[in-house]
C-alpha cells in the first residue's frame, strides 16, 4: 500500500514546531498556544487512519515508505509500522494534545519554545516508533533527547542541571553501545542497515550475547530497569509537568519497544539464555522499587518509582515468551502511558496551586477540591491495578503468562497487588483525605474546565481500555505471534 502518512506524522509536527518558534517572544504567546493545540489535534486526527486502515491479519510491516538516504552506506529512509508500534504512535499523538492543553496557563515564560519543543519531540518520537532502518532509528533516538533535555533544563525545578546531565549521560552511554551493535550487524549483513534484515541474520551465541547486552544497555536505561533506574526519579522531580508526562508516558516505552524490535527477534538465543537475568531484574524492580516508593515523601518521586515498578511488568511479560506475557507487556505500556501521565498531571494541578510536591504539605484536599479528588482517586485505583481500569489488563495478563512458565514468577509479581495498593493509597490517604491541614489547603480552588478536560479525557481512556481491551489486543495478535515464532527459531549459524 502506497502512503506517506508516516512521513506526514513525523514531519508535520516538526515543521509546526519550527513555525511556532517563529512566532517569537512571549508577547505572541496566545498565538503560539493556539498553533500548538491546532497542530497537535491535526496530527492526532491524521494518525487515526493508522488504526482504521490497519490490517490486523498480517504481521508484515504496513504503511511502508522507502527512499534512499545515504547511498554509500546503504542507509535508507525507511518507515513502516506493525501491531507493536501502531498503538504506541497513537499513544504519542493523543498524549501530545493533552500535554499542550496542560501547559496552556501554567507555562508563562518562553511559551513558543515550550510548545515547539513538545511538537518537535512528538515528530521525533513517532520517528523512533516507525523507523525501519537502524541509522534512521538511531538518529531519531538521539534526537529525542535534545528537546527533553531542553524542557527539563529550561522549565525545570531548582536542581534541574544535575537532573538533566544525569539523564543525558545515562541515556547517551546506553545508546552508544547500541550504535556499536548496529555497526556489527551492518558488517554481518553485508552492508545493510535494515532492521528487518537484521531479524533474519544467523549469529553465533557469544556474539548474540554481546549484541543483546549492547542493546540491553540502551533499552534498560530507557525502561528503566533496576539497577539503572536512578536517573528517572531525579528527572521527574525536576521536569515540568508536561515533561514528566511525556517522559513517563512515552519515552519509557521506547525501552520496551526496543526490546521487542531488536533484542528478541535479532538475538533470540541470547534472549532465552539471558531470560533468567531479565526476569530477575524485573522481579526486583516490581518488589524492591515498590518498597522504595512506599517511603517517598515527594509525590513526583513516588509516582516515578511506581512507574519503574510497573515497567517491571513490561520486561517480565516479554521474557516469559508467551502471548499472554507479551500482550500483557504491551497493554501495560499503553495503560501506563495514561495512568502515569494522569497522575503526574494530578500532581501538577496541586503544584500549580501550592508550589509543593511534598506529601506533608497536603492533607484534606478533597474538601476544597472534590472534583479533583474524584479524579485522583480514580487514577490511584487504576495505578493499583483495579479491574475495570486499564491498569489491571497488563498486570493480569503478565501474571497469567508468567504463571504458565514458573509459578514463582507470578507469585512475586502478584505481590504488587499489595504493595502497589499500599504506596498509592497511602499517598491518597495523606494527600486527598484527612482533615484540612492548613489555610492554604482550605483556600485551594477546584479544577477548572481546562483541567477537567485533560483529566476527563485520560479518565475515559483508562476506563474504556479497562472495560474493553480486546480491540487493542486484536491489533497486536498477528505481530506478537510472529515475534514469538521468531524467538522460537534459533538464529545460531
Amino acid at each position: 500500500m502506497e502512503s506517506n502518512l508516516l512521513s506526514i506524522l513525523i514531519w508535520l509536527p516538526i515543521l509546526a514546531g519550527v513555525l511556532i518558534l517563529g512566532t517569537g517572544g512571549d508577547e505572541r504567546a496566545p498565538l503560539a498556544r493556539k498553533l500548538a493545540l491546532g497542530f497537535s489535534i491535526v496530527v492526532l486526527i491524521l494518525s487515526l487512519p493508522l488504526w482504521s486502515g490497519f490490517d490486523t491479519t498480517t504481521a508484515e510491516m504496513q504503511f511502508i515508505e522507502r527512499a534512499p538516504w545515504i547511498h554509500s552506506f546503504n542507509v535508507w529512509y525507511s518507515l513502516g509500522i506493525d501491531g507493536i508500534s501502531m498503538p504506541l504512535i497513537l499513544l504519542t499523538t493523543a498524549l501530545t494534545v493533552i500535554v499542550v492543553i496542560a501547559g496552556w496557563e501554567v507555562i508563562q515564560e518562553r511559551v513558543a519554545q515550550y510548545m515547539a519543543a513538545f511538537l518537535i519531540m512528538e515528530g521525533v518520537m513517532i520517528g523512533v516508533f516507525s523507523a525501519l532502518d537502524a541509522v534512521l532509528f538511531y538518529v531519531f533516538w538521539e534526537a529525542m533527547l535534545i528537546p527533553m533535555f531542553l524542557i527539563i533544563g529550561i522549565w525545570g525545578g531548582p536542581n534541574r542541571i544535575y537532573a538533566t546531565i544525569k539523564f543525558f549521560l545515562y541515556t547517551l552511554l546506553g545508546s552508544l553501545l547500541m550504535l556499536v551493535a548496529f555497526l556489527y550487524l551492518y558488517n554481518k549483513s553485508d552492508g545493510s542497515f535494515s532492521i528487518l534484515d537484521f531479524h533474519d541474520l544467523k549469529i553465533g551465541l557469544n556474539a548474540q550475547i554481546l549484541i543483546f547486552l549492547a542493546f540491553f544497555t540502551a533499552f534498560a536505561v530507557k525502561v528503566p530497569m533496576f539497577p539503572v533506574h536512578t536517573w528517572l526519579p531525579d528527572a521527574h522531580v525536576e521536569a515540568p509537568t508536561g515533561g514528566s508526562v511525556i517522559l513517563a508516558a512515552i519515552m519509557l516505552k521506547m525501552g520496551g519497544y526496543g526490546f521487542l524490535r531488536f533484542n528478541m527477534p535479532i538475538t533470540p538465543d541470547a534472549s532465552h539464555e539471558l531470560a533468567w537475568f531479565m526476569i530477575t531484574l524485573s522481579l526486583i524492580a516490581i518488589v524492591y522499587i515498590a518498597l522504595v516508593a512506599l517511603v517517598q515523601g515527594d509525590m513526583k518521586k513516588l509516582i516515578a518509582y511506581s512507574s519503574i515498578s510497573h515497567m517491571g511488568f513490561v520486561t517480565l511479560g516479554m521474557f516469559v515468551f508467551n502471548s499472554q506475557g507479551l500482550e500483557g507487556a504491551m497493554m501495560q505500556m499503553i495503560s501506563h502511558g495514561f495512568i502515569s501521565g494522569a497522575l503526574f498531571l494530578c500532581v501538577g494541578v496541586l503544584y500549580d496551586r501550592l508550589h509543593s510536591r511534598e506529601i506533608k504539605t497536603y492533607s484534606g484536599v478533597a474538601t476544597p477540591m472534590p472534583v479533583f479528588a474524584a479524579f485522583m482517586v480514580l487514577f490511584a485505583m487504576a495505578n493499583s491495578g483495579l479491574p475495570g481500569t486499564s491498569g489491571f489488563v497488563g498486570e493480569f495478563l503478565v501474571i497469567m503468562g508468567s504463571f504458565q512458565v514458573n509459578a514463582w514468577f507470578a507469585i512475586i509479581a502478584a505481590l504488587t497487588l499489595i504493595f502497589g495498593a499500599a504506596y498509592t493509597l497511602w499517598m491518597i490517604k495523606r494527600v486527598v483525605y484527612g482533615a484540612v491541614v492548613s489555610d492554604d489547603v482550605a483556600a485551594l480552588k477546584d479544577v477548572n474546565q481546562r483541567e477537567i478536560l485533560f483529566l476527563g479525557l485520560l479518565a475515559a481512556m483508562v476506563l474504556v481500555v479497562g472495560i474493553w481491551p480486546n480491540p487493542i489486543l486484536e491489533v497486536m495478535h498477528a505481530t506478537i505471534d510472529n515475534l514469538l515464532q521468531h524467538t522460537q527459531i534459533s538464529k545460531l549459524p
Binding site: K166, T230, L291, Q324, A366, L397, I418, A422, L425
Partner: protein, 654 residues
C-alpha cells in the same frame, strides 16, 4: 430474558452514574429517587428472574469478549441458575431496604448524593459478581465491591479513623486478592480456560495432576482451592484476615448493614459454594475451610462479649456468623451455607439498621453504656431488633434457627478431618451468640436510661423511612426458615447449581433423619428435634444469663471480667492481631523501604556507582589538569626529561 439479565445490573449502574455526575443538578430528592427507582426495578426484575429460574429456565452465555490472548477467550457473561437467582434477590432486596433507610439516616449529611451514587454502584458490582459465568468477571466484581467498600468506609474522609480503616480494609483484602489472582492463574494453567462450565466439567479429569515444588508434591485442585479460599478469607473476613471488618464500622451504618453484613462479606461464601465442583475434589481444602471457619466462629464471638460500641458488637457477631457459614462449606453443606447467608442477610441487616436507628435517636452516640431503657421510646425499633436477635440466637421458629441448626447438625454428621473441633466450636458459639445479642438488647433497650439530659429530651422513634425497612426486614427474618428449610434440605432448591460428592453429602443424611421421623412435617420435626438438642438449651441459657447479668445483677459482668484477668485482656485486645500486623507487616515494609531507599538506591547505586563514577572521572581529570600548568619552563623541563628517558632506553636497548 437476556435483556432482563443485562438490565438488572445496568439500571443500578446508570442510576449511580446519574447520581454521581449530576448530583448537584438533580438535588437530594433527585438523587434518591433515581437510585431507589433503579434498585427497585432491579429487585422486581430479580424476582421475575428468580421465579423463572424456579420454573427451570437456566442461562449461561457470554456478553462480549473482554480480551482474547494466547487463544484464551476471557469473557463477560452471565450464569443464571438457582444459586445466582437466590443471591440476586437477597442482594437487591437488602439493597432496596438500605436505600430507603438512607433517606432517613443520611438526612443531614452534605455528601447525600455521593452516598447514593456509591451504594448504587455497589449494587451493580455485587450483581456482576454473583451473575458471572466465569472466574475473571467474578474477580472484577470482587475488586469492584472492594473499591466501593473502600469509598464508603472512608465516606467521612475528614475523620482520621475512617481513612485509616478504609485503607486497612483495602490492603487486607488485597492480601486475599493476591491469593485469588494466583488461583485464577492456576485455573488458567491447569484448565486453559476461565469459564466456569468448562473448568467444572474438566475438574474430574484434572484430579491427578500434581505440582512438585520445594514444599513437596501437591494436587493442583487442592492448590487452586486453597488459593481461591485465601481470596474468600479476605472478603469474608475469616481469621487471620478478619482485622479489617470491625474497623469498617467507621463507615455510615447503612453500608455496615448492606456491605459489611448482608452482601459483600458473604461473597467469599458464595465463591466457595460456586466452586463446589472443585472443592468437592479436595478434602484437604475442605478441612482447611472447616478449621478456619470454626476458629472464626468461636473466637470472634468471644470478642463480641466485651465490646461496648453497639455497632462493634454486631460487627463481631457478623464475623462469627460468617465463620458458621464457612464451617458449613467445610463440611460440604454448601446449600446450608447459602441458606444461612440468606437468613443472616435479613436479620443482620435488620440488626444493623436497628442499631443505626438507635444511633440516630442518640445523636450519634454508639456507646451502649450510655443507652438503656429505649424500649418504651422506640417501640418499633425495639420489637424488630428483638426479632432479629431471636433469629440470630437461633430460637425456633425464627429464620436463624433453621439455618444455624442445619449447620450444627451438618457438622455433626460430617466425618471430615477437623469436624469434631468444628462441632465443639459451633455448639459453644451458640451460647456466646445468644449472650452477646441479648446483652446488646438489654443494655440498649432495657433498664434505666443512662444518656445525658440533652440527649434524653430529644429521644424519639425514628421516622417512617427508617422504621419501614426494619419492619420489611423483620418479616423474612421470621418466615424465611419456614419457606425454604425443606426445599434446601431435600436438595430440590439448588438443583445442579451446587455439586456434592455422595460420600460428603451430610445434608442428604440430615434430610433422611428429619424426613423419616414422627410422621409430621419436616419443619415440625426439625423444631421438635432442635428443642431436644443441646444448642437450643445453650441459646436459652445464653439469653437467660444475659438477662441475669444486665437486668438483675449488674455488678456480675465486671466481677467476671476481673476474675478472668489476663484472658479478658487477651480477648479485649482481639488476640493481638492488629498490633502484630501493624508492627510486623506495616512497620516491617516501611523499615525495609526506608533502608532500601536510603542505602541501596541513594547510597549504593546513586552514591557510589553513579556519582562515584562522576567523582572518579573528576578526580583523574583534576590530576591531569595539575600537569597542564601553561608555564613554558615546566613543559621545557618535561621535554628534556622525556628526551633523556628516550635516549637512555634506545642506548640500553642496543
Amino acid at each position: 430474558m437476556k435483556t432482563i439479565y443485562l438490565a438488572i445490573p445496568m439500571v443500578c449502574l446508570i442510576a449511580s452514574i446519574v447520581a454521581g455526575l449530576f448530583g448537584k443538578k438533580i438535588g437530594r430528592k433527585g438523587a434518591h429517587t433515581v437510585t431507589i427507582g433503579g434498585v427497585a426495578i432491579a429487585f422486581i426484575l430479580s424476582m421475575v428472574v428468580y421465579l423463572d429460574v424456579r420454573q427451570g429456565n437456566l442461562f449461561n452465555g457470554a456478553l462480549y469478549n473482554w480480551a482474547i490472548s494466547g487463544g484464551v477467550a476471557m469473557q463477560i457473561g452471565f450464569l443464571i441458575d438457582q444459586l445466582t437467582a437466590t443471591m440476586m434477590v437477597v442482594v437487591t432486596f437488602v439493597s432496596l431496604m438500605v436505600h430507603i433507610y438512607t433517606i432517613g439516616y443520611m438526612h443531614d449529611d452534605p455528601g447525600y448524593q455521593r452516598f447514593f451514587c456509591y451504594i448504587s454502584l455497589f449494587t451493580f458490582a455485587m450483581l456482576m459478581l454473583v451473575m458471572s459465568n466465569n472466574f475473571l468477571q467474578l474477580f472484577f466484581g470482587w475488586e469492584a465491591v472492594g473499591l466501593v467498600s473502600y469509598l464508603l468506609i472512608g465516606f467521612w474522609y475528614e475523620k482520621d479513623t475512617a481513612i485509616f480503616a478504609n485503607m486497612k480494609a483495602f490492603l487486607v483484602n488485597r492480601v486475599g486478592d493476591f491469593g485469588f489472582l494466583l488461583g485464577l492463574a492456576a485455573v488458567l494453567y491447569v484448565f486453559g480456560s476461565l469459564d466456569y462450565a468448562t473448568v467444572f466439567s474438566a475438574a474430574d479429569g484434572a484430579q491427578d495432576q500434581t505440582l512438585i515444588s520445594i514444599f513437596g508434591e501437591w494436587n493442583w485442585i487442592t492448590v487452586i482451592c486453597l488459593l481461591l479460599f485465601v481470596g474468600a478469607m479476605g472478603k469474608s473476613a475469616q481469621v487471620p484476615l478478619h482485622v479489617w471488618l470491625p474497623d469498617s464500622m467507621e463507615g455510615p451504618t447503612p453500608i455496615s448493614a448492606l456491605i459489611h453484613a448482608a452482601t459483600m462479606v458473604t461473597a467469599g461464601i458464595f465463591l466457595v459454594a460456586r466452586m463446589s465442583p472443585l472443592f468437592e475434589l479436595s478434602e484437604t481444602a475442605l478441612s482447611v475451610v472447616l478449621v478456619i471457619g470454626a476458629t472464626t466462629a468461636i473466637f470472634m464471638a468471644l470478642i463480641g462479649l466485651v465490646q461496648n460500641d453497639i455497632k462493634r458488637v454486631v460487627a463481631y457477631s457478623t464475623l462469627s456468623q460468617l465463620g458458621y457459614m464457612t464451617v458449613a462449606l467445610g463440611v460440604s453443606a454448601y446449600e446450608v451455607a447459602i441458606f444461612h447467608l440468606g437468613t443472616h442477610a435479613f436479620f443482620k441487616a435488620l440488626l444493623f439498621l436497628g442499631a443505626g436507628s438507635v444511633i440516630i435517636a442518640m445523636h450519634h452516640e454508639q456507646d451502649m453504656r450510655k443507652m438503656g431503657g429505649l424500649r418504651a421510646i422506640m417501640p418499633i425499633t425495639y420489637v424488630t431488633c428483638f426479632i432479629g436477635s431471636l433469629a440470630l440466637a437461633g430460637i425456633p421458629p425464627f429464620a436463624g434457627f433453621f439455618s444455624k441448626d442445619a449447620i450444627i447438625e451438618s457438622v455433626h454428621f460430617s466425618d471430615i478431618w477437623g469436624s469434631s473441633y468444628a462441632y465443639i466450636a459451633v455448639v459453644l458459639g451458640v451460647f456466646v451468640t445468644a449472650f452477646y445479642s441479648f446483652r446488646l438488647m438489654f443494655m440498649t433497650f432495657h433498664g434505666n436510661n443512662r444518656a445525658d439530659d440533652h440527649t434524653r429530651q430529644h429521644l424519639d422513634e425514628s421516622p417512617a423511612v427508617v422504621t419501614w425497612p426494619l419492619i420489611l426486614l423483620a418479616i423474612p427474618s421470621v418466615i424465611a426458615g419456614f419457606l425454604f428449610f425443606e426445599p434446601v434440605l431435600s436438595g430440590s432448591y439448588f438443583g445442579d447449581s451446587i455439586y456434592v460428592k455422595p460420600e460428603h453429602d451430610v445434608v442428604a443424611a440430615l434430610y433422611e433423619v428429619y424426613h423419616g421421623k414422627h410422621g409430621v412435617g419436616l419443619i415440625f420435626t426439625a423444631i421438635l428435634h432442635g428443642m431436644m438438642a443441646p444448642p437450643f438449651w445453650l441459646a436459652l441459657a445464653g439469653i437467660g444469663f444475659a438477662w441475669y447479668c444486665y437486668c438483675k445483677n449488674t455488678e456480675l459482668p465486671g466481677k467476671i471480667y476481673n476474675a478472668l484477668g489476663p484472658i479478658s485482656r487477651i480477648v479485649e485486645n482481639k488476640y493481638g492481631f492488629d498490633e502484630f500486623y501493624q508492627k510486623v507487616f506495616s512497620g516491617g515494609s516501611l523499615a525495609l523501604g526506608r533502608f532500601l531507599s536510603k542505602h541501596a538506591d541513594a547510597g549504593l547505586i546513586d552514591g557510589i556507582i553513579v556519582n562515584g563514577t562522576a567523582r572518579t572521572v573528576r578526580m583523574f581529570s583534576g590530576m591531569m589538569r595539575e600537569g597542564q600548568t601553561g608555564k613554558t619552563f615546566h613543559y621545557a623541563f618535561a621535554i628534556i626529561i622525556g628526551l633523556f628517558a628516550l635516549v637512555t632506553i634506545f642506548v640500553w636497548a642496543r
